[in-house]
Assembly symmetry: C2
Homo-oligomer: 217 residues x 2
Amino acid sequence: MSDSSKAAARTEAKPLGLRERMRATIRAEVIEAAHRLFTVQGYDRTTVEQIAAEVGLSRASLFRHFGTKEDIVLGHLNDSGLRVAEALAARPEHESPWMALRRAFDVLVRMNEEDVQQTLRYLRMLADTPALHARHVEKQLAWRDLLGQEIARRMGTDPDWPSDPRPPALAAAALACLDAASSAWIACDGAIPLSAMLDRAMDTPRSEAHGIRDHLG
Amino acid sequence: MSDSSKAAARTEAKPLGLRERMRATIRAEVIEAAHRLFTVQGYDRTTVEQIAAEVGLSRASLFRHFGTKEDIVLGHLNDSGLRVAEALAARPEHESPWMALRRAFDVLVRMNEEDVQQTLRYLRMLADTPALHARHVEKQLAWRDLLGQEIARRMGTDPDWPSDPRPPALAAAALACLDAASSAWIACDGAIPLSAMLDRAMDTPRSEAHGIRDHLG
DNA sequence: TCAAAATCGAGACTGAGTCGCAAGACGAGT
DNA sequence: ACTCGTCTTGCGACTCAGTCTCGATTTTGA
């Protein structure tokens, strides 16, 4: 009984102590303060010291919560990646990998639609801050591995190709389409829905090659 | 001592030599010394100070030749990107964009084949050095813009889509395939030719959507 | 209530990248 | 050949990100 009650207590009741909750609160506070400073002064002109002072923390303590300055901005992307991966795994088996990827991205589309103006501002900051640009795409490499694994499962393994480049290539190509669609989306100020951009971008790699070939006959 | 001899060599070898010549010589010297140190100690454990000392320069002066530490390793990639873009522009007009991209990459394949072992070592260092990973990805963005422009020219502009995501999506997808092919190539120690990996990776986005479906149907 | 564990602040330290200044090389005019 | 304005180079000093240690404080679990 003590086992089950303990297990129940850990899982059902709040295993989140004061510490955990405080940690989450501080994280949220830091992110908000940092975004405020970033939008006013720009990312590069804002020092970690300023952010720490804004929330009453020391520089060193801030680095305990966020490993790097970039994590303050990009930290949540890890979560997003996991959610996309879950959505992909939940797609029906008979769906083609490419279409499953397209549908998995709908999770992001919905998240973006929750507050379009906010998202536009955020993506714009990413776009015109080179330091963040590099990290942002690096995060997508993690996504690629996540998605590529599921794609590989769906495609099956080919004994002739011990290291088959196709699953990661497919995942990365889809992410490239996502990026291009996002860029086009912010370029037109969200006038054309992100979902439409994504449809058009992801229709390309699949239809273009043989489409053109058919054209040439 | 080696400092003075090297300094003397630099100033006496070309007393009337042009600055550009000197600059190129120094750049080459730095790159060679840096690569030597990197392969021995690893990228992260080698400081710019060490590299500078190795070639008899001050740290600050080294940064005058290479804007960043990463540029010492990745500087030549800008050139490579231009060459791929040239190769793409030189492809016949009737070729499909996707195939033209595939053929443009042959420039890189040929470069890699010149010294396979050297290339493998170089790519391996890029692969397992996170700091370089970020820059490597950033270079890909420059390539994407370069290639995307030519792709857009070939595809023509659609007045309905002022910012069409398809050209950059196609270019980025191709580059994603290139990356996946390279990764798979180094994963199998070059046992399978890079060109074959690239063929397989780039065949994916085009054939998968209907190819797999045909397979399952 | 008490002891172990985790967190925090402070400060020193490393290393990348920037800036301003002085010294040297180049090219042209005399 | 001389010199003057300009451009390049080298270097010391500086900022900032990120790491580490140490001692003090707080949370947690019993």
